[in-house]
Amino acid sequence: MVFILGVNFPERNLVQKSLQSFFGIGGVSSSRLLARFHIHPTCKVGELANKQVLDLTAALSDMKIENDLRRQYLDDIKRLKETGTYRGRRHALGLPVRGQRTRTQIKTAVKLNRMERRL
């Protein structure tokens, strides 16, 4: 078990996959992170050197991920609503924000879009 940014990962997991379990890190940024510390893409968590784990943790702690990012999301939505924009209203109504059709296929928007957006 290896701790990266306070989260425990089993040793047999891929590093790339493990990094993507953080909110705010996807395929691209995890690949870039790996390249930055010279970790090959098929590396397992157990194969990481101590220094690389520390480097990763340091880099992650500099990034805006997890709760910080969530809070920023919510703040942005709140700002849209408070300035009275159309986008803010759509968020509040639980409808698609970016001009999609609303006749069909808005399940995702109904599920997620609200003032306290579910993330």
Binding site: R12, S31, R32, R36, H38
Partner: protein
């Protein structure tokens, strides 16, 4: 048809009310402009258990059927499936023992009378050959009682070459560099295997890269070499694996040789009087210093004389055989990325760079000062097509025929196809100044001759795989079917005919 005119009064009848008329044909389900034929039948609906009338005395409820719990089988342990895939079986107890089959030895490898016959690989050598991964799982070793290879023209030439380099004649200590190409199934890898087996009989040191692709697909760890050279990358685990292959295969030779120089990079680990085997094992035990150990080992093996203070235990170093099987994977960007997320060119990996630099003539002394053979082969399967590499090989041929690079006939890359200059530079080796060093050559393997094919097919027959009368006509036919005696195809023919009777 009844006309809508009344013929007696010539007045128009009232048209039939619409409701009486039969309804018009239902609209086709496809657009009218469409030319493909409509499939009129409705797509069959999936039968749902809840639909349809209830059957007689059958309970009908909304209860979902419970899924059967799937027995979770534990996946096989890590590496087991790969081991099974890479398993190499070298013997088949059901095949007949071929009587009178000779083994590769110092005498047989230069005997021209044996051309066209199959020489077995000596059993004690098999562990060494396995250690350098000379056998590939796709080769048909598992159908014969024991592994053997056919002696063809190129094999005899190779035998004479290796004999000459390790002998006392004029070829002693010569360094020969060859790139082996050929069509698929023409026996390039087996040619390397034969070279290895001959080198082992002559007590050479054999260094191999059996799967060059593994070094560039970003499956092993990598790190920048040092702060001074930020663009060079070292692969410690791959280097350690290379050291381990070399040590396992050449343990006998390396045990006899002692360290003959100072190695400042490994100052604490290396002690005077250490054997080269122990030196190499340092790198296997600690992959972090594997690259330094490899450099030290290479320096030791290519030493022609001892540094001052080490003379008393110095023994002359044996010649070396270096093989790489599947060169073109090294001619493009690797899958590794720099810290800035730029792709790393394969030539920036130090291990790759080391092996490719041997193609160039050495500065001051020969690239292989103690003599030896450099056999780099291309591969025809699982092979990236690299334009610059193709041009580079053409240039190598042109240079061997004596064309100067400034001549008009000298093959030049088409600039619009984006040639890779680094690739062209690797093979751009001028004529070596050292007389002991050969020029880079291109050897193209073709098919066997008819006589060699006959010997090969007879080996199949004597192993009990073929029940045909082997005569010249039959062999000639198979020779043509195999595209002019391409040995891989001949082997398939020999194998396939086993089921026919």
């Amino acid at each position: 048809m009844v006309s809508s005119f009344c013929w007696s009064c010539l007045t128009r009848l009232r048209s039939t009310p619409r409701a009486v008329l039969p309804p018009a044909v239902t609209a086709p389900r496809t657009a009218l402009f469409h030319t493909s034929t409509a499939r009129y039948a409705m797509p069959t609906k999936k039968s749902k258990s809840m639909e349809g009338p209830a059957k007689y005395r059958q309970a009908k409820s909304a209860k979902m059927k419970k899924k059967k719990p799937v027995d979770k089988v534990r996946p096989p342990p890590v590496g087991e499936r790969k081991a099974l895939r890479k398993r190499i079986v070298l013997s088949n107890p059901n095949a007949l023992e071929v009587e009178g089959m000779q083994d590769i030895s110092a005498e047989t490898m230069v005997d021209a009378r044996l051309r066209g016959s199959v020489l077995g690989l000596p059993v004690p050598m098999l562990t060494q050959l396995r250690a350098v991964e000379a056998f590939k799982p796709t080769q048909g070793w598992s159908i014969f009682r024991r592994p053997g290879t056919v002696v063809r023209r190129e094999t005899l030439e190779l035998g004479r070459l290796i004999d000459g380099i390790s002998g006392d004649g004029q070829d002693k200590g010569k360094a020969v560099k060859k790139i082996v190409t050929g069509v698929r199934g023409s026996g390039k890898t087996v040619h390397l295997l034969q070279a290895m087996s001959m080198a082992f009989t002559k007590q050479w040191v054999v260094v191999t890269v059996p799967e060059p692709q593994d070094l560039v697909t970003a499956h092993t760890a990598y790190a920048p070499l040092s702060d001074e050279t930020p663009h060079l990358y070292v692969q410690n685990h791959a280097t350690a694996a290379l050291l381990s292959r070399t040590v396992n295969a050449n343990a006998q030779v390396l045990k006899d040789l002692k360290v003959s120089q100072e190695h400042p990079a490994l100052k604490s680990a290396v002690k005077a009087g250490m054997t080269l085997e122990e030196l190499a094992r340092l790198g296997i035990q600690d992959p972090a210093i594997a690259w330094a150990v490899f450099q030290a080992l290479w320096a030791e093996l290519s030493a022609t004389s001892a540094a001052p203070g080490f003379e008393k235990s110095f023994k002359p170093r044996p010649p070396m055989l270096v093989t790489v099987d599947g060169l073109s994977h090294w001619m493009k960007n690797s899958e590794y990325r720099t810290a800035e997320f730029e792709p790393i060119h394969s030539h920036d990996l130090v291990l790759v760079q080391h092996f490719l630099s041997l193609l160039k003539p050495g500065v001051g002394k020969s690239a292989l000062p103690n003599g030896g053979l450099l056999l780099y082969s291309t591969s025809a399967s699982n092979n990236p097509t690299i334009y610059s590499f193709e041009v580079a090989l053409k240039q190598v041929t042109a240079r061997n025929t004596g064309l100067s690079p400034s001549a008009a006939e000298f093959p030049q890359p088409d600039q619009y196809r984006g040639p890779d200059k680094r690739v062209l530079d690797v093979f751009d080796s001028p004529k070596p100044t050292n007389p002991k060093e050969g020029m880079l050559e291109l050897q193209t393997l073709g098919g066997l001759t008819r006589d060699e094919s006959r010997g090969f097919m007879e080996y199949f027959a004597r192993s009990g795989l073929l029940r045909e009368q082997i005569n010249d006509e039959w062999v000639g036919e198979k020779w043509s079917l195999a595209g002019g005696g391409v040995i891989g195809e001949l082997e398939k023919l020999g194998r396939r005919l086993r089921t026919i009777n």
